[in-house]
Symmetry: C2
């Protein structure tokens, strides 16, 4: 997507393979993503190949905003419905899709509203939301953040308690400050960026102010696979909302590809500690 120039493409492939050969094995997939995308930018220039896709999906999601608000309003459990919609939005992921693939957002919503959550820590999520003073909502993709907005608006006193975090620079179709502005998320809560161009939250690469926000938060809501991969070992109170889209993530979560996840990291750690004796 970044260039049609065969010579540049070959150069990128060679440099990326050499770089991948040197990546320490304790690094996460989003770290490998950063390394590769930085090589692309170094060779092609400071480009954002997903810019148009991001604008398209921001707009398509905005077109569904009123309908989603109505679905939540009509539902029995508004927090669950809004959480499910936030997970539905996680279908807008061009990290694993071809950029020409059409994503049917209505179908994604319909499916996500009825399919059982393969991991369902909604009760713990509700309790955490009730008690948290400071909530950090770490977004994933453009377009998806409109779905996130619907969930944020179901959190009592969200204007005072919620900070919404986006990526510090374009990477894949991940949401940046530009997308937060485009979708009006900036109108309802404080939005910060993490100072980093990774498709996840690689703490060592994030800005000092963002790391402070992370430490201060009583509750972190982390969307999508990239945040799951990078925040699974942190000492914070994290809830992961995502759709398991690749076999490696699905295996790690002990679910099937396509499954919907609302997981408490604390519960996960407890479960692991118990199962290993």
């Amino acid at each position: 997507m970044a260039t049609d120039d065969e010579v540049l493409r070959q150069d990128i492939i060679r440099k990326a393979l050499h770089a991948l050969a040197e990546i320490p094995y304790d690094k996460t997939p989003p770290y490998a993503g950063v390394v590769i995308h930085r090589i692309v930018k170094e060779i092609v220039g400071d480009i954002d190949p997903y810019e148009e896709l991001k604008t398209i999906y921001n707009q398509r999601a905005l077109d569904l905003y009123d309908e989603m608000k109505e679905i939540v309003a009509q539902s029995q459990n508004t927090l669950e419905t809004a959480s499910r919609l936030a997970i539905a939005g996680n279908n807008i992921d061009f990290g694993f899709r071809s950029n020409s693939e059409h994503i049917d957002l209505h179908e994604a919503i319909d499916e996500t509203l009825v399919r059982p959550l393969a991991i369902n820590h909604l009760k713990q999520f509700k309790t955490s939301l009730d008690h948290a003073t400071s909530i950090l909502y770490i977004a994933d993709n453009a377009g998806e953040i409109v779905f996130d907005r619907v969930l944020v608006e179901e959190i009592p006193d969200y204007r005072d308690r919620v900070t919404f975090a986006v990526r510090g620079a374009p990477i894949l179709n991940d949401a940046t400050m530009e997308d937060a502005l485009e979708t009006g998320v900036t109108d309802i809560v404080r939005v910060i960026d993490n100072g980093c161009d990774a498709p996840g939250t690689i703490i060592e690469l994030c800005s000092e102010p963002f790391i402070e926000e992370l430490k201060e938060a009583d509750l972190i809501i982390a969307k999508g696979q990239g945040n799951y991969e990078t925040l699974s070992d942190v000492p914070h109170n994290v809830f992961f909302l995502l759709k398991a889209k690749c076999p490696v993530i699905a295996r790690d979560l002990d679910v099937r590809v396509g499954d919907l996840i609302l997981e408490s990291l604390a519960e996960k750690k407890l479960h692991l500690a118990m199962s290993t004796g």
Copy 2:
């Protein structure tokens, strides 16, 4: 499959990525295969991780030999039926399968006998077989060579005209001299090896005697994807018998994944010359 030692595995991955980064882009996939497998052998030692699988499939194919002979004998067009069986044998390919996958050979035979050939140069094949003085049959995989034997035995005067070539050293589950001995192919025709450990026929890496055989042959029968990838540009009279198993090969042949192919290289070149004006 070569080792469970994590340290060795990591070393292999790093060295393989560096090596892949340096491969010239005009090299074929089997060339990349050789490079990677040589790294594995350099690090793990001179191993043959597919040895057991090869013996199992040699035996399973031998168990079907009488049945295949009967199928050919009962058929209307014995050359076509034997050619189809040779293509059916091409399912025994652990280059793209997991080593734990069970291959149903009866199912492969049944499917290959009825499915239309997506590329069908049987008439030209028959003519070439009628006129050739020296036929070089380049085999692909262990087990599959029993299916090849059934085809060879349908070639008139095969004892005098056919030379059967296997790989010079173990690579994937490709057939070597050991497999030719195990399956009795050595009892019916002269068998040579190509002096090379590639999963295909990379002429620059083959032995001088083999290259001489290649030049001397009036007709070359090349089995499988690896031979297709490495013999598509040679000036010889080649017929490819294979099942298109990966999207890249299928696209190159302009067929679908799973399609059965009996292609004359001369016809292909003629077609290409005509279509490009």
